[in-house]
């Protein structure tokens, strides 16, 4: 049998999948197995499928996804730590016809940026917030995040998070769902193909809401892994996430069309 070369395999007629043109060719800086990459891709796929790339402006946070602007092939701004919802507000208020979204980690969105998060949600800014909750500060080397579970070890909770000394994990998604300014609030995951499809549908709904001028923030939490910060193999991290994160952060819609479910 003749050898098949790589060139033959990737002939146009053999292609079964190509990445969206809204992802650049830059190699992702994320650890292998990290959920950030998948979340980036499906967000960009949605924007492409909805034909919104020419009117969308994204906001990158400070966190592992600080370089999101290197990977997402659309206009992007990089915000100071925690301030992405304020930056998004600034853009959306002066360009109401544009599509504006922020992409933020849990430290960024729910610790240093809680104020901006709550107030953008409470004002009902017509933006999309994509929130990657991995229960840790990945970027800075695995410190405790506001979302770190009780008993979970991190470099600043080396004996496990202790509620009395360090406070409780914050369910900011449930919290913003209570605010009149949120229109769609959901919690999803991207660790299995089925979850990826569901999350992509949720992200699509979020962007459609904004495109159609539905009043308020569409807020998509993605419970994700951080194998480096959790000090686990990618597989173990996903199992650990299912067994520990999902019971505390249950997946599913929390608020749809402005009504709590």
């Amino acid at each position: 049998m003749a050898d098949i070369t790589l060139d033959q395999i990737i002939k146009p007629e053999n292609l079964v999948y190509t990445k969206t043109k809204l992802m650049t060719d830059k190699v992702l800086s994320y650890c292998p197995g990290c959920g950030h990459g998948t979340a980036h891709r499906i967000t960009m796929e949605v924007i492409e499928e909805l034909g919104l790339e020419e009117q969308t402006i994204g906001i990158a946070p400070v966190g592992c996804s600080v370089l999101a602007y290197e990977f997402m092939n659309i206009d992007m701004q990089q915000a100071a730590h925690g301030r992405a919802p304020a930056v998004a507000t600034g853009i959306k208020r002066v360009w109401p016809d544009k599509i504006v979204f922020s992409y933020q980690g849990d430290g960024d969105l729910a610790a240093i940026g809680t104020n901006e998060t709550i107030h953008a949600c409470n004002r009902g800014e017509n933006i999309v917030i994509i929130f990657i909750n991995n229960g840790i500060y990945g970027m800075t080397g695995g410190q405790m995040a506001p979302t770190t579970l009780i008993g979970m070890k991190s470099s600043t909770s080396p004996f496990g998070r202790d509620a009395q000394r360090m406070g409780n994990p914050l369910k900011i998604t449930e919290l913003v769902a209570q605010l009149p300014g949120t229109y769609f609030v959901t919690r999803q995951a991207v660790h299995t193909p089925a979850n990826v499809r569901k999350t992509k549908r949720a992200i699509k709904k979020a962007f459609e809401n904004q495109r159609d001028g539905k009043p308020g923030v569409s807020f998509v939490e993605i419970v994700s892994n951080c194998n480096s910060g959790w000090k686990m193999t990618p597989r173990d991290a996903n199992t650990w996430m299912e067994e520990n994160m999902f019971p505390f952060y249950p997946l599913g819609d929390i608020k749809v069309d402005g009504k709590l479910v």
Binding site: A111, I112, T140, Q143, S155, T156, F159
Partner: protein, 361 residues
């Protein structure tokens, strides 16, 4: 007995805080100083001395926790790196205005903006010329070794309480991340509540009957009173300028040229001095230890004694050099050399700058 250890600068700072009898540390992670809070969390100071350690939700929260605890008479500190220190500036201005003692550390990284996490000295202006709003000063200590990272915690707290002023330990990624031998000072017990009541009659600890109540504030809507308060602050800064200047002179006795540097730049400059001396160039190192107060008097005196030129070496585009120029005040040549944006200059580059900008130029 003092203890000999191999530690990172950040760890030495944290250990020194426990040993200095600090009552509390409030912080937020940021590279290259996250080891401070990581070390404190791992050491369980609440068991060792009763010291409180809390990871705040932001640097803004952390500095305001410091304000509260300091106003209540406690020995309290925080630390961060450049972007986080910028966030703390409002709080530091309040602390200066309310005349509270506190210690904080900036392990500087390259900027502006999110910048880089590599070492820099570009926060000199922010540290010595205000940083926050209003006419205030703070004492700035610049450690050049892991040993000084530890020692300046003790000294810093003493100065902070002596003058009721914020004291800043200004270091950078080199000093924070490197490990060196350090001799740790003996632990100082934390003050008891009774001692705090007695020593700090200004602290809010609960109004006892028959005593005046105490208010911690930086507000005075009466401009005349505000000016008076400013006079009082300025008198304090003048006293500090007269009494608390610290520096180290290395190979300066027979020097014709002087390199002025602080922190990690001073370490590199010291090697440059050695290289220059090997070539027969008579150069010495004026290492700043306090950046505010600045050793202007000594520097001016030296240039009167025949120094032909001063080279200010710093990891910035030229900030400290302005204070050198003010001190020298035209009586000798002054030039600047420094790499920046996270690049650390080499001793060879410093020597070349000395030869070109001072000796040749």
């Amino acid at each position: 007995m003092s203890e000999l250890k191999l530690m990172k600068g950040n760890e030495a700072l944290a250990e020194a805080a426990i040993r200095a009898g600090a009552d509390a540390y409030f912080g937020y992670p940021i590279t290259p100083q996250s080891e401070v809070i990581e070390y404190l969390m791992a050491e369980k100071p609440h068991e060792r001395t009763g010291m409180v350690v809390l990871q705040a939700e932001s640097e803004i929260a952390a500095i305001n926790m410091v304000y509260g605890a300091a106003g209540a008479g406690k020995k309290v500190m925080t630390s961060s790196s450049s972007p986080g220190i910028s966030l703390k500036q409002e709080g530091i201005s309040y602390i200066a205005g309310a005349e509270l003692p506190c210690l904080y550390a900036n392990v500087v990284r390259g900027g502006p903006g999110l910048g880089t996490i590599q070492p820099s000295q570009a926060d000199y202006f922010q540290s010595t010329k205000g940083g926050g709003h209003g006419d205030y000063r703070q004492i700035v200590l610049a450690p050049a070794s892991v040993q000084e990272m530890a020692d300046f915690v003790k000294d810093g707290f003493e100065l902070a309480f002596k003058y009721r002023i914020p004291v800043l330990i200004l270091s950078d990624g080199v000093i924070g991340q490197m490990m060196e031998k350090v001799e740790l000072f003996d632990p100082i017990p934390r003050l008891t509540d009774a001692e705090i009541y007695e020593k700090y009659p200004w602290a809010t600890t609960g109004k006892k009957s028959g005593t005046e109540r105490r208010i911690i504030t930086s507000l005075d809507l009466d401009s005349h009173k505000m000016e008076e308060h400013n006079h009082k602050l300025q008198a304090k800064y003048k006293e500090i300028t007269e009494k608390e200047v610290r520096y180290e002179l290395i190979d300066c006795d027979d020097a014709e040229y002087i390199i002025v540097a602080y922190g990690s730049s001073a370490r590199i400059a010291q090697k440059a001095v050695r290289l220059a001396r090997a070539k027969g160039i008579k150069v010495g190192l004026f290492r700043l230890i306090t950046l505010f107060p600045f050793p202007s008097v000594k520097m001016h005196e030296m240039c009167g004694k025949g120094i032909k030129g001063f080279l200010a070496v710093e990891m910035s585009s030229g900030q400290m050099v302005e204070d050198v120029r003010l001190a020298v005040n035209g009586c000798s040549k002054v030039a600047h050399f420094g790499r920046y944006g996270g690049i650390v200059h080499t001793p060879e580059e410093v020597l070349e700058a000395l030869e070109q900008k001072i000796i040749g130029g």
